[in-house]
C-alpha cells in the first residue's frame, strides 16, 4: 500500500484527501472445465458443455445455473456465428483497451449461449461505418492468437467476408 497526504500548507481547514493505492494480487483457480476451454483456444477450438436438457453452454461451464445440474458431454462448436448484441466503445475506461473498440456477444453454430469477445479487423475511424459493421445479425468467425496466452485474450471475432 502506498499513501500520500495531499493538503494545503497554508490552510488547515482546506479540503484534504488521503490517497491510497492497494496492490492486491489474486490467484484464481480456474477449475478443470474453464481450463480445458482455455486450452482449446490454443488449439483453435471453442468448447462447450452439454446440459442435462440438451443445451450447449459456451463458454464451457461445469454446471448449468438454469437447471442447477452438472454439465456433461464436451461439444466442439463451430468457429462461426451471428452477432446477438454489440457495442462500439468510444470513451476510455481505465483497464480496458484504448477506444474505439467493438465488443459483441456471438451465438456460434452449435451453441445455445452467446460468447463475448472483441470484434477486430474493422475500420472504426468512421462512426457510422463501425456501427453498421457490428449490427445484430452480422456473421462473424472466431480468430485465434498465434501465440496463445492461456486466457480469454486468445480469441476474437472478425466479420465474415460475405457479411
Amino acid at each position: 500500500m502506498t499513501s500520500n497526504k495531499n493538503a494545503s500548507a497554508n490552510d488547515s481547514s482546506a479540503e484534504r484527501f488521503y490517497e491510497q493505492t492497494w496492490d492486491l494480487q489474486y490467484k484464481h483457480a480456474l477449475g478443470r472445465t474453464v481450463s480445458r476451454f482455455l486450452d482449446g483456444l490454443a488449439e483453435g477450438k471453442i468448447w462447450g458443455r452439454r446440459t442435462t436438457d440438451g443445451r450447449v453452454l459456451v463458454p464451457a461451464r461445469s454446471y448449468d445455473d438454469l437447471t442447477h445440474e452438472e454439465t456433461g458431454e464436451w461439444v466442439e462448436v463451430a468457429n462461426n456465428g451471428v452477432i446477438e448484441m454489440s457495442t462500439v466503445v468510444y470513451e476510455a475506461f481505465n483497464g480496458l483497451p484504448k477506444p474505439p473498440y467493438a465488443l459483441a456477444y456471438v451465438m456460434l453454430e452449435g451453441a445455445d449461449t452467446a460468447l463475448v469477445g472483441y470484434v477486430k479487423g474493422l475500420d472504426l475511424s468512421v462512426q457510422s461505418v463501425a456501427i453498421e459493421a457490428v449490427k445484430i445479425g452480422r456473421h462473424v468467425h472466431v480468430c485465434f492468437a498465434k501465440t496463445p496466452t492461456g486466457t480469454a485474450a486468445d480469441y476474437w471475432f472478425e466479420l465474415e467476408a460475405t457479411s
Partner: protein
C-alpha cells in the same frame, strides 16, 4: 411478501445526492443523513430495533464496510447487519425484519461515494467473474450498451451522436455522483397513523443468470418474475394499478423497454421525478434512490381518501441480472385491516 397481518410504513427519509463531495468524509455523510432522518421524527438511534446497511465496498474502498459504518448510522450496541448485493435489497431486508416480527422500527441506510475511487470504472471491473469476462472487460456502461443494442430492432440511431458506448450517449446513462439514502421503516402501532410517508403494500425480487450470453437482455426476466410474485399475492399492488413508477435501470433504453413490457396503465407516470442522467448516483444505490422518489411521489401526490400507488424498481448485476420491486401507497391495503 404480503403485509396481511402487519402494516409497515415508511415514516422518515433523508437523502443527499451531490456530484462530488470533497468537504466531508463518507462516514460524515452517513452520520449527517442518518441523524437528519431520526431528528425529523424526534427519535434517536436507541429508538430503533435494527439497522440495515447497504454499501458497495469495491467502489468506496472500505472492505466489509459495516465496520466503519455502524457508528455513523447509530448502530453501535444495536442489531446491525449489512447487505452487499444492492441498496434496494437492504430496504427489502429491513422490511422483512419487521414482517418477521423481529423489529418494530428499522433504519435502512445505503450509500456510494464513487468520487473517493480515483478510478471507479476500473474498480467496477472487479465485479466481472475473473476467468473470462474480466479478461475481456466488462463494466456497467458496456453491459448497458450491449443490452441497449437489443432494443434497437432495426431502428437507426443518429450515427453522428457522441456515444459513450454505442448506442448510449451520456444522456442515456445514469448520472454518477456521491449519495447517501436513509429510510426509517416502522410497524403499525409504533408510529402515529397519518404521519407516515407511505405504506409498503408489497415487494418482489428475483435474479436471473449471471451469464449475459445466456440471457436475452431485451427480456427483463427477473423483473417480470418479481412483478408476478406481487400480482399473484396482491392484485391491488400489481403493475396494472400503479399510478407512478420510478425505474432505476441501466439506461433510458431499458426504462423505455420496461415501460413497454410491463402491463402498466396508459397514464402511468414513469420516472416523473427526472431522467436517469439528471441524478447523482452510482449503480449500487440507483435502485434505492428511485424507491425514495416513489415514496416522495406517494407523499406529494396523495389526495385524502384517494388511493395513489407508486412503485420503485431497482436492478443489480450487469444489465439487470437481478430485479427488485417495492410498491408504496398512501392507503394501506384493505386486506391488511
Amino acid at each position: 411478501m404480503s403485509t396481511k397481518q402487519l402494516g409497515i410504513a415508511v415514516i422518515a427519509t433523508a437523502s443527499v445526492e451531490i456530484h462530488h463531495e470533497t468537504s466531508k468524509s463518507l462516514e460524515e455523510m452517513i452520520f449527517e443523513t442518518s441523524k437528519r432522518a431520526l431528528n425529523s421524527l424526534g427519535l434517536s438511534a436507541d429508538d430503533m430495533d435494527a439497522f440495515v446497511l447497504g454499501g458497495n465496498d469495491q467502489i468506496d474502498g472500505r472492505i466489509i464496510s459495516i465496520m466503519p459504518s455502524t457508528g455513523p448510522v447509530g448502530g453501535v450496541n444495536h442489531d446491525t447487519t449489512m447487505i452487499a448485493s444492492s441498496s434496494e435489497h437492504a430496504l427489502i431486508y429491513g422490511y422483512l425484519r419487521i414482517m418477521a416480527g423481529q423489529s418494530k422500527r428499522v433504519l435502512v441506510a445505503s450509500w456510494a461515494k464513487p468520487s473517493e475511487s480515483v478510478d471507479p470504472d476500473r474498480a467496477e471491473l472487479v465485479a466481472a467473474e475473473p476467468y473470462l469476462l474480466r479478461a475481456v472487460g466488462m463494466n456497467e456502461t458496456i453491459s448497458a450498451a450491449l443490452q441497449a443494442s437489443r432494443f434497437l430492432n432495426g431502428n437507426a440511431v443518429d450515427a453522428d451522436e457522441k456515444f459513450v458506448a454505442w448506442p448510449l450517449t451520456r444522456k442515456d446513462l445514469p448520472g454518477r455522483g456521491d449519495s447517501v439514502h436513509v429510510v426509517i421503516l416502522a410497524q403499525e402501532g409504533s408510529f402515529e397513523v397519518g404521519s407516515q410517508f407511505a405504506w409498503i403494500c408489497d415487494a418482489g425480487w428475483s435474479t436471473s443468470s449471471y451469464e449475459l450470453g445466456a440471457r436475452d437482455l431485451a427480456d427483463f426476466e427477473s423483473l417480470k418474475i418479481a412483478c408476478n410474485q406481487i400480482s399473484q399475492r396482491n392484485l391491488d399492488s400489481a403493475p396494472e394499478n400503479w399510478n407512478a413508477v420510478e425505474i432505476g435501470a441501466s439506461s433510458e433504453y431499458a426504462v423505455r423497454a420496461i415501460h413497454e413490457q410491463l402491463p402498466l396503465k396508459a397514464d402511468v407516470v414513469v420516472n416523473g421525478t427526472g431522467s436517469l442522467s439528471t441524478q447523482f448516483t452510482s449503480p449500487f444505490v440507483l435502485g434505492l434512490s428511485r424507491m425514495m422518489r416513489a415514496i416522495d411521489a406517494v407523499k406529494n401526490a396523495s389526495t385524502p381518501g384517494e388511493k395513489y400507488v407508486a412503485a420503485g424498481i431497482g436492478f443489480n448485476g450487469f444489465a439487470g441480472q437481478g430485479a427488485s420491486v417495492i410498491v408504496f401507497s398512501n392507503i394501506k391495503d384493505v386486506d391488511n385491516d
